[in-house]
């Protein structure tokens, strides 16, 4: 089971869905949610002072309304600017090949397609999580 997850998504209802799905599937013990990429970046910056607050995995929405940059840029900053080495990927209703390629280039490890039936994808992700953690797993799209 993953100890802690950070979800970056502007949609309140999805926070509830994700929280319940993760709990029901025994995916994570704790889940923190933020509503914008800017808020998430503040947290990422704070982890250098308090490493214990760093989550094991970050799920980022692609288009985060109310943010000054999108999910792909957030992943780029987390991986290249702050070098946090956390498991990170996209969770989005979009399934655009170009965007997926961009996400891959900035170091996203997975792409989960959001839909009404998200539980099977999360279950599959749970099985692959350890490979993402030890950096042996290849980029994967869960659709």
């Amino acid at each position: 089971m993953i100890d802690s997850i950070l979800l970056v998504d502007d949609e309140d209802l999805f926070h509830i869905v994700f929280d319940d799905a993760c709990s029901l599937l025994d995916i994570a013990l704790s889940l923190e949610g933020v509503h914008s990429a800017d808020e998430a970046e503040e947290k990422v910056v704070g982890w250098s002072d308090e490493p214990s607050k760093k989550p094991d995995c970050i799920f980022v929405d692609l288009n985060i309304i109310g943010s000054s940059f999108d999910g792909i840029e957030l992943i780029r900053r987390v991986n290249h600017k702050y070098g946090n080495g956390v498991v990170i990927g996209i969770i989005s209703s979009s399934f655009n090949e170009d965007e997926i390629e961009k996400a891959k280039l900035v170091g996203a490890q997975f792409w989960i397609v959001k839909s009404d039936d998200i539980e099977p994808r999360l279950e599959e992700f749970k099985e692959d999580f350890n490979s993402y953690k030890d950096r042996t797993g290849e980029f994967k799209v869960y659709k």
Partner: protein
């Protein structure tokens, strides 16, 4: 990482569940150590209740999400319809303006046609009268009539009046045309 509660705390929780039907909820349940059978039973009951509650909430949240999506789609459809209506209104207004312009042009055209007919008949009358009086004057001169002077004066007066009227009519037509051009330019 497991959390072990002491006997007193475990019994307190079990009693609370038995008497008040109050259970611990959330992911903390997954971290509690349950070596004794009674507490294991408590944890299982609490987990079952928590799972049931979460399943219900997940289902309801998904329904709300679906409703929201439907509402968003309907709002979008509504916006599209409003945009179409606005476009149709603009087209209708343009058509109305064009029709009014056509009507105006038609009215002006018929007015001009009427003026043209009047002027044409007036000019024919003037020219006809001129030809007849000139012919009479010429005949009088040719036949050496005693009335030549009288007819000559009459012809001269009549011709003067006819010319004056002709210029008056032409002036009126030019004035109407000039005024009409000014209106169009405005």
């Amino acid at each position: 990482m497991k959390i072990t509660l002491n006997k007193e705390a475990r019994e307190e929780l079990q009693s609370l569940a038995k008497n008040k039907d109050v259970y611990i909820e959330g992911n903390i349940l997954k971290l509690l150590e349950h070596s004794d059978d009674d507490f294991k039973e408590y944890i299982n009951a609490a987990l079952a209740k928590d799972t049931e509650r979460r399943k219900k909430r997940l289902e309801i949240t998904k329904q709300v999400q679906d409703k929201n999506k439907e509402l968003e789609e309907k709002a979008k459809e509504n916006d599209d319809l409003m945009a179409e209506l606005k476009e149709a209104l603009i087209i209708a207004e343009d058509a109305k303006e064009a029709a009014l312009n056509d009507l105006d042009v038609m009215q002006k055209k018929s007015q001009f046609q009427l003026i043209g007919s009047i002027v044409s008949y007036a000019l024919w009358v003037i020219v006809g009268t001129g030809i007849i009086t000139t012919f009479m004057y010429a005949m009088a001169i040719y036949w050496n009539s005693t009335e030549t002077t009288l007819i000559g004066n009459t012809w001269s007066n009549l011709f003067g009046i006819l010319l004056t009227n002709s210029f008056s009519i032409i002036g009126t037509i030019m004035g109407v045309k000039y005024a009409n051009n000014d209106e169009k330019q405005e």
